[in-house]
Structures are given as structure tokens and as C-alpha cells.
């Protein structure tokens, strides 16, 4: 009962806390709300007209939504790179970052789910997918697996930080016996969500571009570069706008993770390119389309040729300690990496899978305004959720939010 009251008070306090803030904070939240509303409007049009409001067709049947979904699974999984050392190895440096990382994971997962729902033809019968009420094609369908692991991961990433924050809110220390098993589970789970999402594509013999054993490992490598890169940027922003102390060593350590992952990612990229272009087969056509275009159809060229140089440049710059230790260079490289991997693991992965089609037909895909609107709306939703989560946890960690026993 006491716990319950404390919990209620925490919810109330945090609600109060997130609705108050500086002017910048309010402008930021209003800005996000506006974009979310635009996104909702676009989605209502899509609901009304059907998916024909998007640029997808029978030839390219997945597009921007699934691209973003794929990328965000990676961002979500990357939170564990921080969880592991903090909770399990007692590496004190990360403790601050980890709550932020898990908040990011929650926001990214909610965005993933939103993208999947936006992509459905029949959102009103989505209950067919809920285990127990619907029919779940469980061991067979990778998508069924994905639904399970994503929701499980969401659950873990909500409960662990909630538990820790709740303890801190009451002015107590969190009990490691409770959260460490959870953390270890979430580490394994994060690798799981990534691999399962990769298997979603890898398991399709119909699409040679995806049916490639490197897809899973490359997913992991790129995620562990893009995710922590985003965390670095977020930490930098938080450092600027709040009193939350983030030691430089934390950021340096995260940067280290980014570099190693980015390097591995590049090696795999070269291996892939070698395979596709040294002895090109019929199955290399998608890659050929992606990098050089086919039959004069070149929609993806500007994208991929932005991504590759950005990726290489950022990785090279970060490899040098001197440059990496300079915050300006570091932040710049993180932006580059994040964008590059977004292109590569989103657009650059999903769309070429469909081009050329099963019989070699080359039909291109360009997202429509509606689609872009919905996408931006979902990103804004993610940012909104993340801001709220981060603000609350910072408030609690800084001791601004505390349970007062006497208070009702």
C-alpha cells in the first residue's frame, strides 16, 4: 500500500515536472506536437484512401515505413551497449548514460511499433496478431517472432529503469539482485531483436539481396554504431540544457563503442561489395541497382552515394584518438554516422530488395508526401516520448523529484 502511494505520487510528480520547464523546452514540445498533428492528419488520409496514398505498389511493396522500422530496431538494441557495463561490470561511468539509453530504447521501440502499424493494410484487425485472441503463426513466421521479441524488449526496458527510478525517487538505492538479472536478460534480448529482425529479411529465398548470411551481423554492427552515436548526441544536448552531470569519460567510452562498431561495419560492407561486384551473378542486380542504377533508373544513387562517403569519413575521423577526443569532431562524426546508417539500413536495404522484381522488372519507388508526413509524425512522437522520459529521469536522478513521506 505504501509502495502504491509512493508510486502514485511519483506519477503525479513527474506529470507536474514534465509540464513545467524552460521556454526552450516548451517551444520544443510545441514544435513536436505540431509535427505529430500533421503526421496524424496524413495518417487519417492514408486510412481513408488506403495504402495507395503511399508510393508503394505491387512491385515495391515495402517502403519508407519498413525502412524506418528496421533502422529503429537497431537504435533500440543499442541501448544495451550501455546497460551491460553499468549494471553488470559496475563501471560507474555509464550509470548516468544508461537511463538515457534505456529511455531511448523505449522511444525507439514505440516508434517501431508505430511504423509497423502505419504500414498495415488493416489496422482495425490488428488484434488478429495478439496472442490468445488472434492466431499467431508462431514458430514459422519471423514476423510473429519479431512481435514477441519487440514487445518483450519494450517490457524489459520499461521495467528496469522504472524500478531504479522508483527506488531513487524514494531516496533508496536500487537492489542489484533485482535489476542485474533483468539487465543481463535485456542484453541477450537486444541481440535477439536484432537478429530476428534481420532474419525477417534474411529468410526470404525470393529476394537474393536480403537472402545473405551477413545481413544479421551487419545489422548488429551498424546498430551498435548508429545507436550509441545518437546517445552521444543526446547526452551532449542534455549536458547543454540541464544540470545533469555527464562526465567526459562516459562520452569517450561510448565513442569507443561507436568506433569499433563502425569499423566492423565498414569491413562487412567491403566484404559485401566484393562479393557482389567481383563476380557478379544474376543475384547482384539489386546491389548494382543500388550503387549504379539499372536501365537508367537511378532513384537510389544520390542516397547511397551520400551514405557511403559519410560513413567512411566518419569512421576514419573517429579512428584517430586526437580527433575523437575533440567534442566538435566527435559530434560531427556522430551526425554523419547516424544519417549514413539511417540511409544504408533503411532505404538502402529495403527498397533494393524489391528491385529488380522476381521476374526482373525494374519499377522504382518514391515516397509520397503523405508517407513522409506520417514518418515525420512518428519521429516527432518518438522525440516527444523520449523528452518526457529523459526529463523525468533526470529530475529524479538530480534529486529534484523526491517522495515526501509526510505529503499526501
Amino acid at each position: 500500500m505504501k509502495t502504491l502511494r509512493a508510486f502514485g505520487s511519483m506519477v503525479k510528480d513527474s506529470l507536474g515536472y514534465i509540464t513545467h520547464g524552460s521556454k526552450t523546452y516548451h517551444i520544443w514540445m510545441i514544435f513536436l506536437t505540431a509535427i505529430m498533428l500533421i503526421g496524424m492528419y496524413c495518417y487519417s488520409i492514408q486510412l481513408e484512401e488506403g495504402l495507395s496514398a503511399t508510393g508503394m505498389t505491387d512491385r515495391v511493396s515495402w517502403g519508407l515505413y519498413i525502412s524506418n522500422f528496421t533502422f529503429l530496431v537497431g537504435v533500440a538494441a543499442a541501448a544495451v551497449m550501455l546497460v551491460m557495463p553499468t549494471y553488470v561490470l559496475h563501471d560507474i561511468d555509464f550509470k548516468q548514460a544508461v537511463l538515457i539509453g534505456e529511455g531511448l530504447a523505449v522511444a525507439a521501440l514505440l516508434m517501431c511499433l508505430a511504423f509497423v502499424i502505419a504500414d498495415m493494410g488493416g489496422p482495425s484487425v490488428l488484434w488478429h496478431m495478439i496472442p490468445g485472441i488472434g492466431v499467431f503463426n508462431f514458430p514459422n513466421s519471423m514476423l510473429a517472432w519479431d512481435v514477441i521479441v519487440l514487445n518483450g524488449y519494450l517490457f524489459i526496458n520499461i521495467t528496469i529503469p522504472l524500478y531504479i527510478l522508483f527506488r531513487h525517487y524514494q531516496g533508496k538505492d536500487a537492489n542489484p539482485k533485482v535489476y542485474i538479472p533483468g539487465s543481463i536478460l535485456s542484453v541477450l534480448w537486444a541481440v535477439g531483436i536484432h537478429l530476428v529482425t534481420a532474419f525477417l529479411y534474411e529468410g526470404l529465398q525470393a529476394r537474393p539481396f536480403w537472402n545473405n548470411a551477413l545481413l544479421g551481423p551487419r545489422f548488429l554492427a551498424s546498430a551498435f554504431a548508429a545507436g550509441p552515436a545518437l546517445i552521444i548526441l543526446v547526452l551532449a544536448i542534455i549536458k547543454r540544457f540541464s544540470d545533469f552531470k555527464i562526465p567526459d569519460t562516459t562520452i569517450k567510452k561510448i565513442a569507443m563503442i561507436v568506433v569499433v562498431a563502425a569499423q566492423i561495419n565498414l569491413i562487412m560492407l567491403f566484404s559485401e561489395l566484393f562479393k557482389e561486384f567481383y563476380a557478379p551473378t544474376h543475384h547482384s542486380e539489386s546491389a548494382y541497382y543500388l550503387f549504379f542504377g539499372l536501365e537508367g533508373k537511378t532513384a537510389l544513387l544520390p542516397w547511397i552515394w551520400t551514405a557511403i562517403p559519410m560513413n567512411i569519413l566518419a569512421t576514419i575521423l573517429l579512428t584517430f584518438h586526437k580527433l575523437r577526443n575533440n567534442p566538435k569532431v566527435l559530434y560531427f562524426c556522430c551526425v554523419l554516422l547516424f544519417v549514413a546508417i539511417w540511409i544504408e539500413k533503411g532505404f538502402g536495404l529495403i527498397v533494393p530488395g524489391f528491385i529488380p522484381g522476381p521476374y526482373g522488372k525494374i519499377a522504382e519507388y518514391t515516397p509520397t508526401g503523405i508517407e513522409i508526413g506520417v514518418t515525420l509524425g512518428i519521429w516527432a512522437m518518438g522525440a516527444f516520448i523520449f523528452t518526457m522520459l529523459a526529463k523525468t529521469s533526470i529530475g529524479i536522478e538530480l534529486g529534484k523529484l523526491r517522495y515526501k513521506k509526510g505529503k499526501k
Partner: protein, 406 residues
């Protein structure tokens, strides 16, 4: 089955099925687990005063206005009892109620209730408005039950009949016309197969238009299940250079033609990937979709190596005069937007002993269809006497669609 199986490597599962055949009535072709339609429907004590929204106590929180007349789904006896209590003055059952009394056991009721709380808010509003007229109410009731019905593959025979009846009635209410809809199950000892004579096809595309008309495909987006690929003589099968969307006089000089559609793979990757089992292989080899169960994720489309599937990107429209009224639940009944569909080998025709529309329409006789398990059938003759091949055999999907040349 014939012993000389020199023409296929396909395991049609015939022997296996002989061993395990129980009662018919399960159309899912799944002999182990997964399908519970072998069992008779569990008859649980009917729940008193169950309302259309699945609430057994009348406390369904999703009602906006508590409907006074919502007892459509109980059994006849209880209906009368309930009428005594709550609907004095309206003691006559109308035809609809007689036809559509649906038993609802607790499990279904619970399911529906939960589902309604989660998602159905929109549907509830329409289905529970008390002021609506009889017909509107009936429509709403049908919509309601349609929204929350189960997966066809797992339905009992009664549930199947009920949904077919509802769909027929719904069409009648909306369009003031009658359609006939069957739900014929797969027959024993039948496995459908198809063969395509490349030498004969001249690219007339009669098959394409016959298919569109037969299967009520969306006219707006010009959806077509069949694609005819025009290829250059002397270059072999170069699909990537073929034109599957030509508008000129055929046969064009120096070209040959080849049709593709869903090949009804015996080991269909599209079926494996569907997260909700909305698509499956029937016992007679047809790969079908329950349009009402499909959630429109399009995973199956990505998984099909043969470009066999089509998606309803917008609301499909067929001019009322052109609607083919001879329908099958798993075949050419009307679809809605956001669901997958594809060739079913004209299940509404093939299961009643006719050839698919494309076979009938082809003026050159390039298309051959029949029962692979019948040693006397034309398709068996073709497979045994011609040099047949299939596309992308390396993928291990075992299509039941062969090509051959004279």
C-alpha cells in the same frame, strides 16, 4: 496413386493423407495440430442475454448508448425469453433473427469483448446505435460479427456456414441483389496442377481479361493476377528483358509469350511467413487467403518468388453489373481495401469440376489444368509425355505449374 511417378519429384502427401485422413471438414490441409476443425463444435451452455458486442452481462463498456435491442446473437429459446423481459411489444422474430442466431460460447464472448475493448471502438459505435432502422441495425450487426469472426481455417463448419450466410445477406442488404457463395471444401484424391504450353501462347491475353472478370478484381487499379511476358525469339527466357505490360498487336514478329501467375507452390514460402495464418495451402493444393483475416502486412508478397500476389492498395471497385455473382469464400468474393489476394485457380470453378476461367478463355489451348492424382487426366498426360520444367526450381518451392513446348 500411380506407381510411375517419373514426372515429378513432388511429394503430394497423398500417401500420408490416406493414412491420416479423418473426417473431412477441415479445409486447412493441416493434418497435425493447428487446425481444430476436426472436432465438433463445443456446445457450451448458451449464455443468457449475450449482446452483439460479446459482453455477457450487458456491461460492455464500449457501448456508447446502451442498446435496448441487441439480443440478436442468442439462441432461439433465449431470444423468446429475453423478448419477454426486455423487448415487450416486439415478440415476432424477423427473418434475420431466425437466420442469424449465433451461438456464442464464453470463450468467444470473452475474446470478442477483449478485442472490442482494444480496437473495436469504431465498430461498436456503428453497431450499437439504438436509433437506427431495422436494416441499418441488421447491417451493423453483420458488420460487427464480421469484424470479430475468427480465422476461416480454424472455424467449425457451422461458423463457416454462418459467415457465408452473413456475407450473402450483407451484399443483399447493400446492393439489393443476390449472390451465391459457396464454401466447398477440398475433395479427397484431388490435387490441382497446371501446365502452360509456351509454343502455343500467342499473347492474346484473353486469359487476363477472363480472369479479371471471373475473379472480381479491382478495375480501378487494373489488378491482374496473370502476367504475360513477351520475349524475343532466340534469346531464351530472359525475363528481365521481357515486356509484361505491352499494348500492341500480337503475336508480335520475332517474339514468344509466357504467362505467369501464382504457381500454388507445394511448399509455399508465402504461407510460412504470414504472421497470422491468413493464407494457407488447402488439401487439394490450392494456396488460398482468408481476406477477412489478413492484416495487410505484405510479408507474403515479399516472400513470393513468383510475383504471385496482389495487394488492394485502395478500395477495390467493380461496377455492379460486372460483378461475378458465383462466388467462393476463399475465391472471388468481394475484397476490401488493405488485404492481399491472388490467383486461386478459380476455386469457385475448379472445386465444382470446371476449368479455371483462364483455361476456358485461352483460344490457343496453351493452358492445361487438372487433377494431378488422376492418371487419366490431360495434365498427367502432359507431365508424362512432354519435357516439362518449372521456374526457379532451385528455390525449393515446388510449384504446381509446369511449362512445356510442343
Amino acid at each position: 496413386m500411380s506407381e510411375k511417378k517419373k514426372w515429378f519429384t513432388l511429394d503430394f502427401g497423398f500417401n500420408k493423407e490416406n493414412a491420416t485422413t479423418t473426417t473431412s471438414g477441415c479445409g486447412c490441409g493441416n493434418t497435425s495440430g493447428g487446425c481444430n476443425s476436426h472436432k465438433p463444435a463445443p456446445i457450451e451452455p448458451p449464455v443468457a442475454t449475450s449482446c452483439g458486442c460479446g459482453s455477457t452481462t450487458g456491461s460492455c463498456s464500449s457501448h456508447n448508448t446502451p442498446p435496448p435491442k441487441n439480443e440478436y446473437t442468442i439462441t432461439a429459446d433465449e431470444f423468446d425469453a429475453a423478448v419477454e423481459d426486455t423487448m415487450v411489444g416486439e415478440t415476432q422474430k424477423d427473418g434475420f433473427q431466425q437466420v442469424f442466431d449465433v451461438k456464442m460460447d464464453r470463450r468467444t464472448a470473452f475474446r470478442k469483448l477483449t478485442a472490442s475493448l482494444l480496437i473495436g471502438a469504431g465498430a461498436v459505435q456503428t453497431s450499437c446505435s439504438a436509433i437506427a432502422g431495422e436494416e441499418t441495425k441488421e447491417k451493423a450487426q453483420i458488420d460487427w460479427e464480421e469484424q470479430f469472426k475468427g480465422n476461416y481455417k480454424l472455424m467449425t463448419q457451422e461458423e463457416r456456414d454462418a459467415t457465408v450466410k452473413r456475407l450473402v445477406r450483407s451484399y443483399q442488404l447493400r446492393k439489393k441483389e443476390n449472390i451465391s457463395m459457396s464454401a466447398t471444401d477440398a475433395s479427397e484424391d484431388v490435387l490441382f496442377g497446371y501446365a502452360f504450353n509456351i509454343s502455343k501462347c500467342q499473347g492474346y491475353m484473353n486469359c487476363v481479361s477472363a480472369c479479371v472478370e471471373e475473379n472480381n478484381q479491382d478495375r480501378n487499379s487494373q489488378m491482374q493476377y496473370i502476367r504475360i511476358h513477351e520475349m524475343k525469339d532466340g534469346e531464351g527466357f530472359k525475363f528481365n528483358e521481357a515486356d509484361d505490360n505491352y499494348y500492341h498487336e500480337v503475336p508480335a514478329e520475332g517474339h514468344f509469350y509466357m504467362g505467369t501467375q501464382c504457381f500454388h507452390c507445394d511448399d509455399p514460402p508465402c504461407v510460412n511467413v504470414c504472421p497470422v495464418e491468413a493464407t494457407w495451402r488447402e488439401k487439394d493444393g490450392l494456396v488460398v487467403i482468408d481476406y477477412d483475416w489478413c492484416i495487410g502486412c505484405r510479408y507474403c508478397m515479399a516472400a513470393c518468388p513468383y510475383d504471385g500476389r496482389r495487394f488492394n492498395w485502395s478500395k477495390p471497385e467493380v461496377p455492379q453489373a460486372e460483378v461475378n455473382k458465383n462466388q467462393h469464400y476463399l475465391g472471388n468474393r468481394m475484397r476490401k481495401k488493405g488485404v492481399m489476394e491472388k490467383c486461386t485457380f478459380c476455386i469457385q470453378r475448379s472445386r465444382s469440376g470446371k476449368d479455371p476461367a483462364c483455361v476456358e478463355a485461352c483460344p490457343t489451348g496453351a493452358r492445361i489444368f487438372g487433377n494431378l492424382l488422376d492418371p487419366e487426366s490431360t495434365i498427367r498426360w502432359v507431365l508424362e509425355n512432354k519435357k516439362v520444367f518449372r521456374l526457379k526450381e532451385d528455390l525449393g518451392t515446388e510449384p504446381k505449374f509446369w511449362y512445356f513446348m510442343d
